[in-house]
Symmetry: C2
Subunit: 159 residues, 2 copies
Amino acid sequence: MKPRSTGCCHGSHVELPTLTAKLRKESLKITGPRQAILEAMRHHPHPLLIKELHALLAEGDCDLVTVYRSMKTLQKMGMVRRVEFGKGGSRFELVTDEGREHHHHLVCEACHAVMQLDDCLLLEVERRIEKASGFRSVTHRLEFFGICPACQKSSVPKP
Amino acid sequence: MKPRSTGCCHGSHVELPTLTAKLRKESLKITGPRQAILEAMRHHPHPLLIKELHALLAEGDCDLVTVYRSMKTLQKMGMVRRVEFGKGGSRFELVTDEGREHHHHLVCEACHAVMQLDDCLLLEVERRIEKASGFRSVTHRLEFFGICPACQKSSVPKP
DNA sequence: AAGCTTTTGCAAATGGTTTGCAGTGGGTGG
DNA sequence: CCACCCACTGCAAACCATTTGCAAAAGCTT
């Protein structure tokens, strides 16, 4: 349960060709907008708002609406994961090899910094809930919120 | 961690005067709309969508906008808790004496039935995260989703 | 009952997300 | 290598949850 910062841009672990290959395997077209989107997500390995993602793209690379549609498509094929922090809309992150396994986030409520928490101790809890309740296919959604060390000092007002 | 159904209307444990007294203590006015809202929530002890809550009120009792404003007010004074299931907007539930303590829900993704899970094993986890990350005031948001026993049989399509 | 302040209703603005439609452009078969 | 077809895109507008502005209505206090 040790937190792991996913700050920004420490090299791109996933290659773009690796990603586009997945598109081809699903007989989806490898278009300019899709490449631009994957390229941007590759370099920003944290949950991004649609509009943040769109802002990362070069002017005219891709319409906002296309970002929405791409997220839906990519999520359906499992290349992207939807994360909800409850403010400002849905966020999406690339499902990478080293981030494939189920994990959670620790979000600073002041500056919105995001850390990734490795491993999850709730898989066993899901099984217990299934037994106790009779529900099936039980999953969960869990995020942590708090005030990060930097914000504890600077006392910047919450955005 | 045994699930407890919060199906519907098994008697109203909280009295209306008890609730309005809290309003008075905060020098908030005891208006018709507020009484109607609290009365409705008293009889429906599960997380309600704003529009569901509004639909429960008698015609002309209270405007939709007023429901929104009331939820904001009541949440600020701790009488109501906001719950996010990620579909269709925020939900709210009364904070009752027997439901005051932090708890989570188990939601059927087919019929949207909601069960309440007593006790939470994550308080200790929050402390561990604080130590490991340096964050402060760490809280969390956790909900479980699955298919309830009834829906496993009837195979009704998801709404 | 009068007066002051909060609260409400209505209308309209806002912000995220989806949809309709016509035009563009990948990718495949000839 | 070209042409064709359907998936994909851009743009505009629709949608839905939520918020805001403003004047009228209603609590609470005196």
